[in-house]
Symmetry: C2
Subunit: 201 residues, 2 copies
DNA sequence: CCTACCGATCGGTAGG
DNA sequence: CCTACCGATCGGTAGG
């Protein structure tokens, strides 16, 4: 009889293993052992190994979408929205570090419809950032740059976080996002204070 | 009798397969089939599957080191050196896209001494960028920011390239690096022309 | 959730 | 570089 919460526990263990060893290097026996059951018993809870990967990846995609969409589609000046979106993005990574690692590193191992589903959500998510950047460039708050290029640079810079962020370290997600914003926005932001920005050196 | 250049061909094929499918999802039979020989015959050329991964990864590390080191340790003003280093880094990725993908995505699958060897070279490479950034911050050419944070942001932003760069596309490595520099340096560079930088919008 | 198991495939080897 | 093969392990299943 499946224990209540067992599925969540299995997903937790699988996230940890997939993030550390990679999806293909992790065996069903690794996951079942970490979950305290035998490998055959795992299939009382899941349908396949790829199901686990999909569920972890899909939750990651949903986290990003649901955190950033309300900010992009909400009211407020575009610079503040960009800062908030960056904080939200960094927070998703920092708060779900293992799942984020799997999301960024292992989603290519998904096949067929599952792969396509995640790809659609990734495209949707990138679209939110496009919208934000285009809005800012159109109204003159951001310098007019290649939107696609700028978006890829920002997302790449933030996504790198999963490779070095240490939750036990001294920086909170907000502090990390603030530093990102300081470096990146000062390059983006072309409003009046640019000429007079502080020099801390 | 091993054919001349066969080893290089095998490395080429393995790079392509590892970059598309991942190291663990690629089988010895995949590689041998792509190389036009049978799986047993592969071992006339290599000692193990992991040897292939190591050789691809190690060459990648050497490419980065040998391209960027002379720039960092050479003469010239630090802003120009940063631009040159960025161009060199982007060029390594763009010119060896499959190997770069393996280098960034699969090096964690290496074990023991091989893993440690690559880790040392990665540390050495990061050290070059630290040196460059610290030099620029010390002499006042760059804004005084958290060096480690700035370095990780820059490298993450550039390394994201392997996920979206299309050699058949319209941008040359130099153009890509220039755009990176435009966005990132304007955030870093705090010299006189900052206040009067051009606005292309 | 366990016992017992399966067909397939894996990386790699011996001998030529 | 091929033929023929091996022990180990893989994801997954049947029956309880």
């Amino acid at each position: 009889m499946p224990r209540v919460g067992r599925k969540e526990q299995i997903l937790e263990k699988a996230s940890g293993l997939f993030s550390r060893k990679g999806y293909h290097a992790t065996t069903i026996r690794d996951i079942s052992e970490a979950s305290g059951i035998l490998s055959g018993s795992l299939y009382a809870h899941i349908q396949s190994k790829e199901d686990l990967l999909f569920e972890i990846t899909d939750r990651g995609a949903e986290h990003f979408l649901q955190s950033v969409r309300p900010i992009v589609e909400g009211e407020g000046d575009v610079v503040t929205k960009l800062r908030k979106a960056m904080i939200a993005h960094v927070r998703v990574i920092a708060d779900h570090l293992e799942a984020a690692t799997v999301f960024f590193h292992e989603w290519r191992s998904l096949t067929n419809e599952r792969s396509a589903c995640i790809q659609r959500k990734r495209d949707k998510y990138e679209g939110l950032w496009s919208q934000l950047l285009e809005e800012g460039m159109r109204e003159g708050s951001f310098r007019s740059l290649d939107e696609k290029f700028t978006r890829l640079l920002i997302l790449s810079a933030m996504n790198g976080l999963y490779q070095w962020y240490q939750p036990a370290g001294e920086l909170t997600p907000e502090e990390v996002a603030e530093r990102f914003a300081t470096i990146l926005l000062t390059g983006l932001d072309y409003r009046e204070e640019v000429a007079g920005r502080e020099h801390s050196g």
